[in-house]
Amino acid sequence: MSLERQTAAEPLLRVEGLVKRFGGFRALDELSFHLMPGEILGLVGPNGSGKTTCINVLSGLYPPDGGTLTYAGREIGGLKSHRLVHLGINRTFQVPKPFLTLTVAENVEVAAAYGRSQGGAADVAGLLASLELDGQAARPAAELNSVQQKMLDLARALATGPRLLCVDELAAGLNPAELDRVAARLRALAESGVALLVVEHLMGFIDQVTDRVIVLNAGHEIFEGVLADAVRDRQVVEVFLGTDDGG
């Protein structure tokens, strides 16, 4: 399905009443939101509020237990990861999971060979250069430092040519210069039409890159809008800082 056929008013992703249970615990409890092509949506909330679970369900690691996931006009709930990748959904991991014994270039080549969802062949060398990994291309991924592994994880995701990219705490551990570069990179992706879902604890970064945020608590959204309004929302403040009488 080409980008041209998407009208601007139609969301790329529509999540409705999404439920994910682990035993009796509802990690996602009737979560609903939508994401437009080219939009950067921030997903914030306290630890355990369901942000990563949401990405895990969207990327096929867990099947949903309820609700619907509509992507580019089709239901995608419960599809396997590789099928979702071929449809144009990809993600990065909070803790990067590169193929440690393969070289940096091979890590990206696998994704370019098997995961392409749109466009022609991926420019692996160009992608590595743009993420400052070109000097490491022939080294095993195990020899990279943690920031480089995060960039490699991003390169692996980008090599598939995603239309929806979920970014899970990419900014944690980056220095200010690296943060600026990653923010610029994500904005450039959005301008090219990619929809991004960004999970992050660094509010400065969220403020810098996102168009809109959703605040999650206990598996469902308690606020939707721009970050500046979120910090004035009584319920959001309560969730993050506690109430006056709560002790």
Binding site: K80, H82, V110, A111, A113, G115
Partner: protein, 306 residues
């Protein structure tokens, strides 16, 4: 020169040529045959363990199943040896398909379950109540098709085919995808690799390799007992040889077999009283100093190993 061609010309062709022509210069054909069997088995282990990451501790189950598939096709269906080899491979393939649910396990759990499955097949085959079908514990005798030279030649052909498969895995997208699965199945999925299909294909290829060479083994020796072909020694030797040389490479398992099986036979003949001591020291030394096999030594020096 493309790497695959270089690997074929400088590794596959010399090894196959040596296996094919050594019997004309060296009279102990049985020993050479055992080398061919272990070269093939070690590469079969390489497919599922080296490239895909599952340690097949019951690999002998496929070898024995191939041997019995071949033998029973000769005895009951009166097939000639070549079609009977296909029957042996089909039997191993069937066992592989039956055992695909084991791929849900990982690490030691998979290894133990695979060992148990292999022992289960052995117990069924050697059950005295099945004497009419499998000859039970009394063993197989195939004197009618006995043909050492022809069966040796066929074994060399299977070795060549197996090495060809490893050259392909070493130089193809598919081999890279299998290694990605081995390293991290979740990331492999997010790279667009169909993880379940990759694992099952590698498992079945590995099973068929053992089934084919097991069938030739039955043909070559012609007289054997269930404990001969289901011996855990086949699993352990094949795994140790592959590990010793270095997995996920073409040359590693070859080096492992030539060196370790060579030493095994040399000491076994000259000074059998020291055999276990020397063998043990060799393996302990390797595990301590070169856990990734001999080829990792060359890698450390910056040499790209096929």
């Amino acid at each position: 020169m493309p790497k695959a061609l270089a690997h074929t010309l400088f590794v596959l062709v010399p090894v196959v040529a040596a296996a094919a022509f050594l019997p004309f210069a060296y009279s102990n054909q049985l020993l050479l045959f055992n080398f061919v069997v272990f070269l093939t088995l070690a590469q079969g282990v390489n497919v599922i363990y080296g490239f895909t990451g599952y340690l097949p501790f019951g690999y002998a189950g496929f070898f024995g199943t191939g041997a019995y598939g071949f033998s029973l096709a000769v005895i009951h269906l009166h097939l000639s040896p070549i079609p009977a080899l296909a029957a042996g491979a089909a039997a191993a393939l069937l066992l592989g398909l039956l055992l695909t649910p084991l791929l849900r396990l990982s690490g030691a759990y998979f290894a133990i379950a695979n060992l148990a499955a292999s022992l289960a097949v052995f117990q069924v085959v050697s059950n005295p109540n099945l004497e009419g079908i499998t000859k039970g514990p009394y063993g197989i005798s195939l004197s009618g098709v006995f043909s050492p030279n022809l069966s040796y030649g066929v074994a060399v052909v299977f070795l060549a085919a197996t090495l060809g498969l490893i050259v392909f895995l070493r130089n193809s997208r598919f081999g890279l995808a299998l290694q990605a699965i081995r390293e991290d199945a979740i990331s492999a999925g997010m790279a667009g690799v169909n993880v379940v299909r990759g694992r099952v294909l590698a498992w079945l290829m590995s099973a068929v390799i053992a089934g084919l060479i097991g069938g030739v083994f039955a043909w070559y020796v012609s007289v054997f007992y269930p404990e001969t072909v289901f011996s855990p020694e086949f699993s352990i030797f094949a795994i140790v040889f592959a590990l010793f040389g270095g997995i996920a490479t073409l040359t590693g398992p070859i080096l492992g077999v030539v060196i370790l099986y060579g030493v095994y036979n040399a000491i076994g003949i000259s000074t059998p009283q020291y055999f276990q001591l020397i063998y043990g020291l060799l393996i302990v030394g390797l595990v301590l100093f070169l856990p990734n096999g001999l080829v990792s030594l060359f890698r450390r020096w910056g040499i790209d190993v096929p």
